[in-house]
């Protein structure tokens, strides 16, 4: 991952999004969605906790 000092914050955040999605890891969508939809770290943690637990549970029960 590399940010571009000549680009503004929003464009660099786009780079972050793309880099995470590029991994094609099943958790990448969860992490990107939560990163950009939550207002603070505590809300982010709560969302990650719910989404990751749900994901793991559904994967095991499949």
């Amino acid at each position: 991952m590399k940010f571009n000092k000549n680009k503004d914050e929003f464009k660099n955040l786009d780079i972050l999004k793309k880099e995470i999605k590029k991994t094609k890891n099943p958790y990448s969508t969860i992490i990107v969605d939560a990163l950009f939809s939550t207002s603070d770290a505590e809300n982010f943690r709560t969302e990650i906790k719910e989404k990751v637990t749900q994901f793991i549970d559904s994967k095991i029960r499949k």
């Binding site: 000092k5 972050l16 939550t38 637990t53 793991i56």
Partner: protein, 834 residues
Amino acid sequence: MVKQFIKSISIEGFRGINNSGAPLLINFQINGVTSIFGENGKGKSSIFEAFLFSILGRILRFDDYHSDIKDKKTIKNLFHSGDGNIKIEFINETNIITDINVNVDNNGLRTISSSSLSDPDEFLSSLCSKLNFLDYRPFEKILLTSSEETGKLFSNLVGFGSFIGIKDKFDKISRTQNINNDFSKTIKENSIRDNNQKISSLKVEIISKLNEIGIDITTFDKKEILKYLKSFLNKQYSLKIKSIKSETQINFDQLIITKIGPVYEENVSKLSTLQEKLKGITLLLKRLNTFNSKFIKRLTKQLEAAYSQISSQNDIVLGKLYDEAISSYDTINSFDKNTCILCNTSNLNVGQSTFYEQINSKIKSYIKFKNKYNSFKQEFLEKINYSGVSEFENLYISESDRILTNLGKANDYLMYNFLEDYKVIDLLSIYSTKAKTEIKNKKETIKELKSQIPPKIADLVDETNIYKLVFTNINHIDKLLSENDYNTKYLFELENWIRFSSKIKDDYENAYNELMDEIASMIDHDTKSFFKEIMGDVGIIPKLKKENKGQKVNILLEKFHSNTNDMKAASLLSESYRNALSLSIYFASALKSRNPGNFIIVDDITSSFDSGHQLFLLDLIKRRVAKNSLNRNGKQIIFLTHDGLLRKALNEANGQRNWLHYELNYNTDVTSLRPFSSTDLKNIIIRKIHNNDYFSSDLRIYYESVLWEIIEQLNLEIPYSLINSHKDKMVNNLIQAIGEIIEMKKTCRKVKASLLLPSKADFKAYIQQLGNNLSHWSTASTSSLSTATLLHIVSDIDNLKQRFQYNCTCPKGAGWVYYRTLKTPNHKGCTCNI
């Protein structure tokens, strides 16, 4: 990202600006600096706060106020009827104008609307951060905080504020404790370990029980064991089960009853009850044994320690009276000398102590006794319950003989020797013997009952019970295995998540660090240069050092005179140097900021500097921070100040390229802009003279403004130190200097001979006449000056001014204008004969 600039602001009914029906309107210089000078109470900070409130939705200094002193009702001007209103026009690089209309109600609540935007809130929230606004408080923070906080401020300054939030988010989910709490990682790991232990012991129990009935197995093999079970059930109960699954239910008790018939059912039931009771009394005996002589010894010591606090039993009687008094008179919180009628009865002396002192000492001893006694009592009661003494007495001892239970319930203090008096050790020994007898009796009854059941039947019951236990254990093992299976898969998946999230976190942090490293080194260069411009080449060179990991940024001095070891800047530098460094970092960072809001609004940032350094700072802002033709990436600067030292320099700068200056005027609830034109100033002063509300300084200001105007308009080379002087005779010195430069120019033939400029003698007269007046103004009370006298002085100043002007009679009709220069007085296009 399209850069946004502030085009104008209009303020009515906000903070100190009432302006009912006549909003204060300020147009700003887009490329360059707009400076606004306002003496205290003229509304300068209200302008700053109007920007803050409109754009950020809050007044930053209120954040630091305690709720006791914060009153949002003061946000709207208290004397303004109706809502307050602020209108800001933004203009972007492509000249598109965006308007924001902010209403503030009596409770200080903000409502935003816009005729050009559907979502003005979104526009404002993405426009800029609080770091676009700088007043005297926050800019030093970057220097006086932890390196972690400096790093965060630094990220904010360069417009990467949300990167801090993202780092915080990653940090939050990667903390081991949070992972454990959120995903129950440790609980699940422990559960797997515990379940494995349980499974092992269940298997051992199964093997041991099957061995008891002659099945010779040494290892747990579920299939084989179930084969035995199926075969047993088939053989003994003709029950054919094809396959046994986890949900299979077998009612072993019912099988026994059906098989042995109703005759033995009663005995079997009794047997079962007796076996349960035997189990109970055996356990009770075990618990009773914990109330042993060792514990009694400890209790005795505790009780002795409590009683050692008091000298006699009478102290307890007194203490109880004290307790009674305290509970009866709830207003008495302590044994207060002033509340005791015996306190001052010194004639009741007993030995060396007064009666009060004696009682007080005893009460203190009693309180200590009571505390220690309560600890003893608590332990005693807990033991009575835990050891099962109370349960035993309830079951086997008649109510009147339940000694220990009754002692535990006693309200009065137990005597220090009560354990001996009641022979508690003997009592417990009796209880133990009694329990053992009960156990013996029950065992005998069980034996008797068993003997009444034929051996074959008894064996069958035993064997069936063993298979029942085996079956229950197998089911339990299956359940534990299934739990372990889920948890193992869960932990495996969780590990995938942890690995992935920590990789993303590490990648992000590395990239973020690298980015900040690059920006820090760019900013470091500008910071050094800016600092040097403000403070001069004083042998001090600052340095921004980004730490390799984390977001910490250290602000150091790489050179402090002869010292070239890195030193911590905040500790070493004095206030003005610290401020110069903070401002250098702030400006250097702001220039790298990628916020759309391409403006910086500063309020009173120069207070800690002397006049020379203030001018260096102004010069830095103008040339290197503000947007201009040579500094295209510069910012729009709105510079608010109350600093009188700067006032003249700002007036000087007014009208220069990329610089617009206003002064604030305040009169009966109206704040207005005071233009620099001396004619406008004269009109204001004449109005004030007629209204009899002028200040003695008003005429001096007018006189000064005329002299500055002459110097500025005619480009007279007057030393700045003279203009910026604050000596009493400054105006005299100034006019003398004007006279001298004109004489010099005349000598050098740089003055057109026909100009009616004042002569040497005229200047002498002005100095005398106006100088005398000036002395008089500064000493006389305003009432001693008549309107006619004051108007006469204004007229004298105007006469002086007109000696540097000509009355232009060209068709366009310019009127009285200053000479363009002393050598070529006509303005472009003017055909007047001078």
